[in-house]
């Protein structure tokens, strides 16, 4: 049985695309669907291509590198699965591939947590918009894994910014 934070992970057999997504991750690949007709890359998993309405797709592995686009910190769990995990960082990560594609402002932006090497939540004081991140994988069992992200050794993409409650006080 696949499990995460003590809760079951269920993807029914009639939902092959989501199963394949988790299987790709278990093989160490952050993969997204590439349209079999127009080659548009899409995230999250979708039934059809929002650009051309083709139902054909292949999996396209990405570098797993990106930049923090927005983030926040959760000190107060709602779902009981997260009781032992708080405070945790939720981030919106803009991946390196397909930026400004097919139009300016479009991008592959992925919601995930920022975690440390040991898989625990990253210290929120170390996270900022503009920080570079790398994908990592948490194994769920049953040949599935969940993509997560870690702070990268690379220099930030641009001047970093932290939520007003973190980091140095404004001048």
């Amino acid at each position: 049985m696949a499990e995460y934070l003590g809760a079951q992970v269920i993807v029914p057999p009639n939902d092959p695309a989501h199963r394949e997504y988790l299987e790709e991750a278990a093989h160490g690949r952050l993969s997204v669907q590439r349209c079999g007709n127009c080659r548009h890359l899409r995230y999250p998993v979708r039934t059809a291509c929002p650009e051309c309405r083709s139902f054909e797709y292949e999996w396209q592995p990405l570098t797993g590198k990106g930049t923090v686009y927005s983030y926040y910190v959760v000190p107060h769990p709602i779902n009981p699965a997260f009781r032992e995990v708080v405070p945790y960082v939720v981030a919106l990560i803009e991946l390196d591939e397909a930026r400004d594609t097919p139009q300016p402002g479009r991008a592959l932006r992925v919601v995930a947590n920022i975690v440390r090497e040991d898989g625990q939540s990253e210290n929120a004081d170390r996270v900022a918009i503009g920080q570079r991140v790398d994908v990592t994988f948490v194994h769920l069992g049953d040949g599935w894994a969940l993509p997560q992200f870690r702070l990268s050794d690379e220099s930030p993409e641009h001047e970093t910014w932290q939520i007003p409650t973190r980091g140095p006080a404004p001048a």
Binding site: Y4, L5, G6, A7, Q8, V9, I10, V11, P12, D15, H18, Y21, L22, Y43, P44, V45, P50, Y69, S70, Y71, Y72, V73, V74, P75, H76, P77, I78, N79, P80, A81, F82, V85, P87, Y88, V90, L92, G105, R106, A107, L108, R109, V110, V111, A112, N113, A124, I129, L146, W161, I163, P164, T165, R166
Partner: protein
Amino acid sequence: MARGQSALRGKYAIVGVGETDYSRNSGRTTRAMAAEAINNALDDSGIDIANTSFGITSYSGNDATGSAAVMSDLGIRLDYEVDTMGGGSSTETLIGLSMGVIEAGLCDAMVIHRTMNGYTGRRIGGTPIGASGPPPFATNHGDHNLHSGIYGVGSALQSFSLAFVRHMYEFGTTPEQLAHVKMVHSKHASNNPKAYYKERVTVEDVLNSRYVVEPFHLLDCCVETDNATAIIVTSIERARDLRQPVTAILGTGGRAHKAAVDYAWGHAPITHQGGIHTRDIVFSNAGVGHEDIDVTGAYDAFTFTTLMQLEAYGFCEIGEGGDYVSSGAIELGGRRPNNTSGGHLCEAYTHGMNMVIENVRQLRGTVDDYCSDWKAGVHIYDYSERRCRQVRDAQVTMNLGWAQPATSSALIMTNQL
């Protein structure tokens, strides 16, 4: 320019509004509360029940009693019924739907209602009552459960916050500016005897409350309450013969979405609320502009939802909302007061219904404040604590209904027809 119901401009009216108490201990079923709220709205309208053909619509998140049972309790036979899944922004959407239903000749009057034990029953974004452990992460528990829920993005605030933190980054919007929204709405609620929270709070109070989703505080969040609310729509001709001053509907816009609305983060700018699409529909349908609007009801599930919608609909420039909400403009006595009942932050959480009800009462001139003769429309226009909350000479109101950062509905009403 959107095609829409401009042909229906001014042809329909809200003739009755009603609600239950706003509490955290209703001790009743959603069915019992719905019946009371609808009954209050019927009484408020003075409509001839025996000689009116009724339809009904409602919305819920699977946490309410179906309309057919409620109307059967009241002994009212239905010629039209549709219960929908929905939430914030459904109020304005279903008012627009109701106009179309009556226009199509399906019934004479429509009831719109929402009933929820939002505190003692199913709490929004929370775990269902009686659950023994964490629910599974499953693709059939929401289409993107594996792309958001599994990362601890489940509650409304957790879902909405990424958009507004980006707003803070791009425009320098501050927690202090946001706190003004709560401070102002609490002043309004202090003049509303039925508000759940009637105490005035300061900007400092907001900033000193605990974080729910950092950088957002407990007092940036709306109250959770048990209540039912109801609104009755019929033709302007019928409205003229009924009990209340006429509140005409100039235009609506219903749940317009940004692209890829189910996961809109891939389409920048995520800082622009979905009202950027709704506004063209509602203003063209209504035939009025921003300068004509005297009172707004900008949905305040959180302080920033009000701010983002006021920007999206053009009451200030996008990025200037922080200055706007802290300028005094949205306060009673200011240029364009917002949520004069105290809204979701203070009065009650009704999924948008109470903000429309409040604007109807503003247009009638009979807001239920602490003025001794408010029922007769006599107000003192003193907005200090435990006094008046009637806006002087309010002629046109606008409701801005938030579903989520990428979705919005709207409604413009007037007492000038």
